[in-house]
């Protein structure tokens, strides 16, 4: 059983073009660490040198922004969907 992470286009070069990656971690932070083990280099794309999510990266669990949840401590469970999305302008 696992949660699914949707990999955004700019990161797919690192995941051999895989669009959806399944992880077994139980938090968002854990999922990012798991991604890093399988696809070295992906972590530094998502997190800055202090280990916090980069300011132009938005992470959602089941469509909710993790900044409204518990950031990287946000729990995830089997069947959850995690999206990683660049910030977008507009109006």
């Amino acid at each position: 059983m696992s949660a699914k992470i949707r990999i955004p286009t700019p990161l797919r070069k690192l995941t051999n073009n895989e669009e959806i990656v399944e992880v077994t971690a139980d938090t968002v932070g854990g999922a990012i660490a798991e991604l890093q083990t399988r696809f070295p280099g992906i972590k530094e794309r998502l997190l800055d040198e202090n280990g916090t999510v980069r300011r132009f990266v938005n992470v959602y669990v089941n469509e909710e922004d993790i900044r409204f949840l518990q950031n990287q401590q946000t729990p995830i469970k089997s069947g959850d969907e995690i999206s990683i999305i660049p910030a977008i302008a507009g109006g």
Binding site: P10, R54, R55, F56, N58, Y60, D65, P86, A89, G90
Partner: protein, 418 residues
């Protein structure tokens, strides 16, 4: 540089400086930072002179060298060069010496500043070979994409929050665009569109076309400088949704200084938000250089972006120019709309009410000193958000077609007034 790229040199990440080719791409692969167009200013300086500008048609394209298209525009030839109105009556009301309204409520063709960004984005999209265009929108952008796409036969998909004002929905549907209402707020529409944009080969004006799109806003600032007689206003008040317009107004002033078109003088850029969605002004007031996302709840739906993509840069511009972020309540927004309408005869949408309301506050608190000059950027037309002011606009008095009844009405009302 490829000479076929016009005055553009490359796309460059605003965070780390890595450069990318001039394609339909918007984020840095390394850190997700936004990409921005880099221009060949040395070459632009040779042809973009005051005399050359004056000789060109009165549209935003008179500043062509600083707009990111490779060839001549193919969408929106008539956009821009909206009136800069000297607002003496509103100035007296607010207590400031000199006040101007940059009136994009009458921008062509869809009555908001979005026609500026869309004509750039669609002209560039056609250069890059796209035949379908799309956007995520709080309303005005959808209207503009729908209309400008129709005018040149591009297929359009516009994604909006399903609960938008009826006027804004009809204003997109009428052009034959595919209008998709998303059951959620704008930030959710945006998230979905980011995922859609990665999947379909469309030109999403505010996603993969964003580096080009956003630059179109600079034309508003270029026009302000030229219409003021080649000077930079001491204060510019700009409403903020994603914060992009504010950063581009600042950039336009900087570019004209760099090209020697205007003398460098001190100026402040102030950012206006609705209290019900004020992540940027709240951060500015707290002295932070980052913002906390919010869930929007305001009548100013065109500004209801809780996760503003250019929030960091907007905060930086306010800090650098010694500007202020401020926000106003829904009632103050309605009052702002009324003030502008009654003093200047300009009917703005809710975002305009935000700008006027914030300007009033900044003048009252001395953050904009009474002896200075200010320009208010009014970005959209009030006919699009009639619902917001329907109850506060006043009411009609009905009588039969009889002179006696009319005289009686006047008599009764004059007694009430006295």
């Amino acid at each position: 540089m490829d000479k076929n790229d016009g005055f553009m040199k490359a796309l460059k990440c605003r965070e780390c400086g890595r450069e990318y080719p001039l394609a339909a791409t918007h984020v840095c692969e390394f850190d997700f930072g936004p990409l921005e167009v880099v221009y060949d200013y040395d070459r632009a300086r040779q042809t973009l002179t005051r005399a050359a500008i004056a000789s060109r048609p009165q549209t935003m394209w008179r500043y062509r060298e600083l707009l990111p298209i490779a060839r001549e525009p193919t969408v929106g030839f008539q956009v821009g060069y909206t009136p800069l109105v000297k607002a003496d009556r509103l100035a007296r009301q607010l207590g400031i010496r000199e006040l101007w309204i940059k009136n994009d409520t009458v921008n062509y063709p869809t009555l908001s500043f979005k026609d500026r960004v869309v004509s750039v984005a669609l002209s560039r999209a056609r250069e890059l070979g796209f035949t379908t265009v799309a956007c995520a929108s709080t309303g005005n952008l959808a209207n503009s994409v729908a209309a400008n796409a129709a005018a040149v036969g591009l297929k359009a998909y516009v994604f909006i929050p399903a609960d938008l004002e009826a006027g804004k929905i009809i204003n997109s549907l009428v052009y034959g665009a595919n209008v998709i209402g998303i059951k959620g707020h704008y930030d959710e529409v945006n998230r979905l569109c980011a995922e859609i944009a990665g999947k379909f080969g469309w030109a999403f004006v505010n996603v993969n076309m964003r580096p080009y799109y956003a630059e179109g806003s600079k034309s508003m600032g270029f026009e302000i400088i030229e219409q003021l007689g080649w000077r930079i206003p001491e204060h510019t008040v700009v409403c903020m949704a994603s914060g992009s317009l504010l950063t581009k107004i600042h950039k336009s002033y900087q570019e004209f200084i760099k090209l020697g078109l205007v003398t460098e003088t001190k100026y402040r850029v102030h950012g206006a938000q609705a209290t019900g969605c004020s992540p940027i002004s709240t951060a500015q007031k707290a002295g932070l250089d980052f913002f906390k996302p919010v869930k929007p709840n305001t009548i100013a739906k065109s500004l209801a972006i809780g996760t503003p993509a250019d929030g960091f840069y907007a905060l930086r511009v306010m800090k650098e120019t010694n500007g202020t972020g401020e926000d106003v309540s829904d009632d103050e927004i309605r009052e702002g709309i009324k003030l502008l309408a009654e003093c200047e005869g300009i009917f703005a949408e809710t975002a305009g009410g935000v700008t006027v309301g914030v300007a009033k506050k900044l003048i009252a608190t001395g953050k904009i000193p009474a002896n200075d000059s200010a320009v208010l950027c009014i970005t959209g037309n009030g006919l699009k958000t009639l619902d917001a002011v329907a109850t506060g606009a006043g009411r009609t008095r009905e009588i039969r077609p009889s002179l006696r009844e009319f005289e009686a009405l006047l008599e009764v009302e004059s007694k009430i007034i006295c």
